[in-house]
Symmetry: D2
Amino acid sequence: MSMINVHEKGYVRLVDHMGSDLTVVNAARVSYSKESLELNERDVRLIKFLAQEGHTSPFRHAIAQFEVYAPLMVARQWWKYVVGSAHYEGTGDSLDAWNESSRRYITEEPAFYIPQAGEWRSKPANSKQGSGEPITWELGEKHTRELMAYVELGISKYEAALADGVCAEQARLFLPAYGLYIRWYWTASVQSVAHFLAQRLEDDAQQEIQQYAKAILELIKPIYPVSLEQLI
Amino acid sequence: MSMINVHEKGYVRLVDHMGSDLTVVNAARVSYSKESLELNERDVRLIKFLAQEGHTSPFRHAIAQFEVYAPLMVARQWWKYVVGSAHYEGTGDSLDAWNESSRRYITEEPAFYIPQAGEWRSKPANSKQGSGEPITWELGEKHTRELMAYVELGISKYEAALADGVCAEQARLFLPAYGLYIRWYWTASVQSVAHFLAQRLEDDAQQEIQQYAKAILELIKPIYPVSLEQLI
Amino acid sequence: MSMINVHEKGYVRLVDHMGSDLTVVNAARVSYSKESLELNERDVRLIKFLAQEGHTSPFRHAIAQFEVYAPLMVARQWWKYVVGSAHYEGTGDSLDAWNESSRRYITEEPAFYIPQAGEWRSKPANSKQGSGEPITWELGEKHTRELMAYVELGISKYEAALADGVCAEQARLFLPAYGLYIRWYWTASVQSVAHFLAQRLEDDAQQEIQQYAKAILELIKPIYPVSLEQLI
Amino acid sequence: MSMINVHEKGYVRLVDHMGSDLTVVNAARVSYSKESLELNERDVRLIKFLAQEGHTSPFRHAIAQFEVYAPLMVARQWWKYVVGSAHYEGTGDSLDAWNESSRRYITEEPAFYIPQAGEWRSKPANSKQGSGEPITWELGEKHTRELMAYVELGISKYEAALADGVCAEQARLFLPAYGLYIRWYWTASVQSVAHFLAQRLEDDAQQEIQQYAKAILELIKPIYPVSLEQLI
């Protein structure tokens, strides 16, 4: 399995990967010029030790590559987190590459994330951020309908502007962009992926991005089982 | 002057700065353990030499700090450029700090960028990206009115969703987010600012971000005149 | 006081700085578009909260700049730590600029760090790394003399090689380089400096670098007292 | 062939790699959601275009991993260049991982780079940096002998210090460290490797590092032929 769907239209695809738990062990042991060929008990203990002591650089030598298709609001949080982690939270793994589609010139039909009736959540009880229980099905249905109509109206105005000769980079002002799907390639080390997962799998992460994080984990857990077990 | 308005609602403010052209000279000369106290002809030639040969690390020791208020589409391009420059284009100055407001929890009234009648541009003649001449005033007036109405409708739906108890992180799906104003702090080296300006002052940059780039330049040109002259 | 001597020949000099504890507060509050002009109790609590929760990005907007003169072995650890922190330990503050002198072409007389009789330390009791109690004064005196003679011999061979026309980049093979003094400019955010200090002030850090870390702390504690109190 | 010897004792080994020229093409085309399965003429033209325009981010998704054994002076230049490129020259690819052996605690026998009689170079005619023609064989033989004796003396003093109970982190002051071999793992993107090669294959790079650069190129040219052709 190398692809997992998220919501109605989104997905995560594992494009490629390099190395295994052994890569971490061999990178850490470079000092001793011994190379393991099969993961033994001592190697597992070394990975545990590295993770516990925060010596995470050896985890940077094992790499995974994904294609992701997700709403802009998810992409923004993801990118802030991953690419800008050094900048935002001092976590600092910048071993990431990222290439995404742009609305400045793309001509692909715009697609949008629209929560279904049962997917709308209430505001959280004790926090300024995040979300709580689902709202009622009736209210959910209403807002799904409202959003659907609003998105359709936006698309028609966007297309009218293009038809009147307005440049794409301004016409997109008509799009309710937080829900707009974009697509990107993400290449990252196990250290970076684990750090992303550790935060985005948490309960207070926006639920939409939690679901992408779960898909990422499912795709790479079989490849780096010990490292991910220890890091997350 | 430490603040310049951009469009109707946006602005750039110079919050603080550190160093001068001399900082660049002294950082470059650390090898020779001589320190200049006043910029002389030889120093100016050194700055020219460093810029021409691409030895830009000494420009990383002079720092400027800005507060910016701009539409999300500008922020996204800016951030991609600056914070992610290492990732996007291998320009690699990551000497930047960035803190921005978030729509996941902020309760400030949303404000939007809406081009005025004469500010709408046509699509470019020979390119998939960018923009060309202004469209007619009549068409511009129409789209300003259309966008204004669409934004107002979005805000009212956004507020209705909040009133129905929907969490802010989902309710924002109703906002035409590309034009939504956000505010951020940006701390960057002269190397990084110059690199940003070199690209965003170009004709094929989106005009909205060009105007911010011009404001940045106006604010710091008097502080690092020789360095900016040479780097841009 | 803006300069502190370390050992016989080394030093740390505070060249410049930008901002104060208030900078951290204002960068963190950009979301709320309120700016503090004087540090009050609420601001202090905010700094505590940011440090405890690991939201360290606001500390990246306050900057300090140093000139350091230290043996190569100290420079290597420092640089590994600071510049390469993202790479080595995933701490990832890359908001640093670094310019150092190079032995590939410099003609300055080489200077060396030679521990005095009482400064030689024994190997640690229970660890492969670090050091323990001082060795006896007699043994210390012997190794000081030995090292002095060995350094002098190296310098004379280095100079003989240069005199025979050997290029500097090969002649330096004769220098006992771990003790060779180099000089560099380091510009770093308070986040980065604090992270460096947190590690290099620890007992298991090499004592030579601990002494530089203490000098750094003494120089900037008065400028960012609350932030450093909370981060270290 | 996955390993190439450099000088008498050094080597470069290709440990692993991920992707091919197609990876670059697919990462660049994510905007268009089309994926190539075989490299065709249009793909080759795309790679050329990306390299010429400086859109190098797609080259960050193809990765190579090496083990290197080289003298400290080579390691220092390499690392300054690669890991610190963002800091030193604003080239900014930080998509690198690096793990090296440390003299603070390792107990492996120290090994040294000693140029042979014909390998000593003169100082350059018109530059403060670099090297010129070989010096005479007689002079070369003399300095090889001198260096060999000096290294042996250093090792014996280093061992005497250890035997007297001095900690390894201080005893190493007796080692002529520029020639000391160290071993490291380097994981880097094609963008980063190409950038390193572009500089280190140049005539004014120190010849010792040029030879390592040639070995790196020989090992990965067959894997990313078009990309390397265009980027170097």
